[in-house]
């Protein structure tokens, strides 16, 4: 089969957001098995909403429609959250964000009964159950495949920004990992994770994909677990490095930030794509995962070291100045995150206050229900 991947064009810079959510047992805060029941009941009550099963029975995925701006994404996410949480109440199940459950045991997870999930489970063995981690995926609309490739390369410079702003997985198996984002280490175990190979345009990408498909390693784009990947069937570029934030408001703000960065990248389409941009990719990514907003990254062009929070502030100002149309409330929300700390900081502070990881999960489910303007630390 030598069928080329066809990139279906979509409206430039439109947004779509997917959130993977945790399903929590109210009794002890551990993950519970409720995805099939929750998806079935929510789809019955809200048939037009995009609510799906994920790899294990302890997680679900919600997805917005195609939106042009922050307000649309936020409205969709709030409606989805309310629908899911309303159904979850009937099942006595809690729903929350966060990139990883702080004390779940992966051996207790059940793979969802579906052909795709069974394929992943057969191929990756125990890694499939360990993949019970929770991420936010942001799709950005692209007019063509070449623009998508350019956008993937352009956004890769800002991967540390995205990781640090969204980081919400400091705890794993009952301990503080010392990372702000431990989820990325779980994803790294997959052989086709990391970054997309360096290609200049859609034609080169198609050639690469065809080579991989001929080896039998991949069947579709879904088999690549890259940090950023083109999604030709949707006509988007998908950013996959975000931990699921603790609130949908933060998720909408992050999507808006990606839109702003993407606009700047596409507006400077004449600048050359340079593979040297990836020299510091892994180092910067590690800094963001380990230290969050306090990490230090190296600018691939100037070779200068800069603190992540400062670099993000600079970018936010740049978006404000050069990318009109990006909602001010979203940018203000991000600045609030820079001032107060990301969700990992909140989780650590909250654990110190409530005293147990079980209670922390209760606090997380309560926070997920709140809109950000009504939430105060």
């Amino acid at each position: 089969m030598n069928e080329l991947l066809e990139f279906h064009p979509s409206e430039r810079l439109t947004l779509g957001v997917e959130l993977e959510l945790q399903l929590i047992d109210h009794r002890d805060g551990d993950l519970t098995r409720a995805a099939s029941d929750l998806v079935a009941i929510t789809q019955t009550r809200h048939p037009r909403m995009d609510i799906k099963l994920e790899i294990t029975e302890s997680m679900i995925e919600i997805a917005t429609g195609i939106q042009r701006d922050y307000a649309g994404v936020l409205s969709d996410l709030r409606a989805l959250r309310d629908a899911v949480c309303e159904s979850a109440k009937l099942l006595n199940v809690g729903v929350c964000g966060g990139g990883a459950h702080p004390f779940q045991s992966w051996t207790e997870r059940h793979i969802v009964e579906a052909p795709r999930m069974n394929y992943i489970s057969d191929l990756y063995g125990y890694l499939a159950k360990q993949f019970t981690v929770f991420g936010q995926h942001v799709h950005v609309g692209c007019p063509d495949g070449d623009a998508a490739i350019r956008l993937v390369h352009g956004l890769s410079r800002y991967i540390p920004h995205f990781i640090a702003l969204a980081a919400s997985s400091p705890f794993l198996r009952g301990i503080d990992t010392a990372y702000d984002c431990s989820r990325m280490n779980t994803v790294a175990a997959f052989p086709l994770s990391g970054r997309m190979p360096f290609v200049h345009d859609w034609e080169q990408f198609n050639a690469y994909f065809e080579k991989m498909r001929s080896t039998g390693i991949v069947q579709s784009m879904k088999d690549f677990y890259w940090d950023i990947r083109p999604k030709p069937e949707y006509g988007t570029v998908e950013v996959r490095v975000f931990d699921t934030p603790l609130s949908v408001d933060r998720a909408a703000a992050l999507a808006s930030y990606v839109q702003g960065v993407a606009r700047l990248v596409l507006e400077h389409a004449d600048s050359a794509i340079d593979e040297d941009a990836y020299l510091v990719y892994s180092f910067n990514r590690f800094q963001a995962c380990r230290f969050g907003l306090r990490g230090e990254i190296v600018d691939p062009q100037t070779r200068a070291r800069v603190r992540l929070d400062q670099d993000i502030r600079t970018m936010v100002e740049s978006i404000r100045a050069n990318a009109p149309g990006i909602a001010e409330p979203a940018l203000m929300g991000l600045e609030q995150c820079l001032d107060r700390g990301n969700d990992s900081s909140w989780l650590r502070a909250e654990l110190a206050r409530v005293g147990s990881l079980g209670m922390l999960m209760r606090a997380s489910t309560q926070r997920f229900l709140q809109n950000e303007e009504s939430f105060s630390r």
Binding site: T32, E57, L91, N92, T107, E108, H110, S356, G358
Partner: protein, 402 residues
Amino acid sequence: MPEIDRLMEGLESGLINPFSMTVLLFLAALLSAEVTVRVARVPRIVSLVVAGAAIGWLRSVSATASLMPLPRSLLEVLALVLIFEVGQRVPLSWLRRNPWLLVTSLAESALTFAGVLSILVLTFRIPMVQSVFVGVICMASSPIVVMCVSKDLAARGQIAERALLLSTLSSVYAVLGMQFLLSGYLAANHAELEGAVQPLVQLLGSFVLGILAAGVLRLYVFLTDARGAVLTIGIVCFCLLLYAAAPPLGISPVLSSLFFGLMIRATDRTHRLLAHQTSEAGVMLSVGYFVLLGASFRWMGTAMTVVIAMAISVLRIGAKVLANSLLARPAALQPGRGALVGLALAPLSSLALILAASLSQHAGLEQASDLASMVILMMAVSGPLLTEWALRRAKESTRQSE
């Protein structure tokens, strides 16, 4: 069984006395149960009940063995401790969020009662009074068994959670229904009209005692900073106090212990007590409980009693499955999974046994007691199997990778 008697007498002349004999039989029951679990892969609870029943059989066929003290009160205390744990796990606030669960529980209990009553009166021509009492006992399911099977499988999910909630509610209905009926029965026969208000007194009195016990336990934890085994000992002691204090006040120790657990769940904002695991002590409690439960069964009954009991058992399970599957959709579940909840409600155990035993103390209700006891025996053995099957079928067991 003269051979057994000769063996017992021979042993008794040595170091073996009734007390050590009981301990040895208990140990033998435990060993045989573990071997059965490994060889036949049956649930541990079933093995323990059957092994306990073997002790009961030995007591029924051997004059010497019947001298062995069977710690009946120990069984009841163990039941109270486990009922407390049930109360700790039952999310009553779920009923507020999903009122259809309350409707389901009322419907499945009512349908079970009506079904059992009908088959006894219409098919087997059992007198109405006797049939009503059997019907009330059959409404109950055993939350202790449901909880222990769930813990054994480390089950999590809707089937496990709903089965625990519905079995607890059905037990409450059965206790109150039995008290109401007994009051009426006694009033009709002996004109003791004051007995008619007993169910309300039971409910309120148990509630008050439960609140008191929960308050004192929280004070105990506050003062001693008790954790682990010390906390378990405290909980057992408070259950013992309830066991001692409730009956003289005319209050059900079972309901008191249930309210004790429910109050802890409702008021433990820090999850300090809820997070407590009885661990080894809890395992010991449940092992002792199920062996003693098995040993408490009476080995008697005619072939007709067995046939009727089998018919009741099948009908009882059918009624619970039917009600739960019919009301599954409004209660936010798929009908097929609702049926699994109904199946998981099959077990009957100590609570029903206590209710049946209370019948035998009243003249004219012996037949009801015998019939109910036979149904309980059948459900004590087959119930855990059905509960485990339902939980495994629903893929809620996390003990083994499925």
